[in-house]
Subunit: 200 residues, 2 copies
Amino acid sequence: MSGAIPTEDLIKETAKRVFFQQGHLKATTQEIADAAGVNRALIHYYFRSRNLLFDRVLQEAMSGFMHKVLSVLEAETPFQEKIGVFIQTFIGMSAEFPYLQNFIVTEMVKQPDKMTVFHPQHLDEVAKKLNEELAQEIQNNTVAPTTLEHFIVNIMSLCSYPFIAQPIIQTIFSLNQAAYQEFLQERKEIIFKIIFKEKS
Amino acid sequence: MSGAIPTEDLIKETAKRVFFQQGHLKATTQEIADAAGVNRALIHYYFRSRNLLFDRVLQEAMSGFMHKVLSVLEAETPFQEKIGVFIQTFIGMSAEFPYLQNFIVTEMVKQPDKMTVFHPQHLDEVAKKLNEELAQEIQNNTVAPTTLEHFIVNIMSLCSYPFIAQPIIQTIFSLNQAAYQEFLQERKEIIFKIIFKEKS
DNA sequence: GTCTATAAAGGGATAGAC
DNA sequence: GTCTATCCCTTTATAGAC
């Protein structure tokens, strides 16, 4: 039937789920095959090896993430609004694939060559424009003096770390699953407020 | 000779180095033995299995980290100074074991029961005191209104993430190794400034 | 305590039938 | 395209000599 998902895509989507949603970094081909409801040999038929499947899935996830984030930063909206959407988007995507950030970091330590996706061609002109806008904010005294690098890293840190370190934070503050989800949502506003100074 | 390191400690220290400084999460018993300059069988003689070695080394690292951080927060110094030391300490320890945070998270996803170290007995009273001090800062308008949980998570995020995500950030901003070390040092001041509002 | 040799298990990969 | 059976390699773990 025409509505059925091709086996290749089924395997790929299942792998994404197992890796990035369940956080099962070391999932074997057998486990992925079981989760997809297919025979293990089919993974080798379509992807030749576990590594090639892994790399392709990770590559697609990384470039998808980067693409979405960049498109937000390229938008022709006021700076503060743009950063607000950036925070929303970053947290939203992380909520969908809670372990992706962790995977990226763990993997990129081993294969730094696979990271070109994080520095696309037009990044420099995007940065140039953001730099001008940031300078304006600093002049307006809505942002504490800083560089674009620190400014961006601050936001990424504040958005990303609570997902990466979820089990630790949950334990420290004795938050159950529901409370932690609530906590993460609260952060959208908290982060915006810490980044931009109240006008007084 | 009496100055020699006992083999058991040698293995343990070597494992710490391989795991948390070199970031070799999947290091085999053979690789650890080689790095320590001992025979592989000795690892099993002293620790019985790779898992037990791994767990003990991780446990010690985690409790050491938590202990040091808590002792800073318990100090009888002014709040802002205390938080300043906290930032310095957190970044300092992360610089010594750049991959520890990553290990903890990756591992704690699999064995959440091993995490009791992150919620020691006296944590609640420490939190109570910090809460009062934070309330005072908020009243003084030196900290934007927030909860202690978000306040602490903000600091941990800002300190920890740049280590965890080093390869990504380096790529995005085209920073070489030396530039990145400089960048990390700059953050000590940057983080303090973003946490505490300038008095005006 | 330290070594060598070997067992035992787990998982990736391929051949070949259907 | 999909399955079963099998091979092969890696790595952990143990037995036993020194």
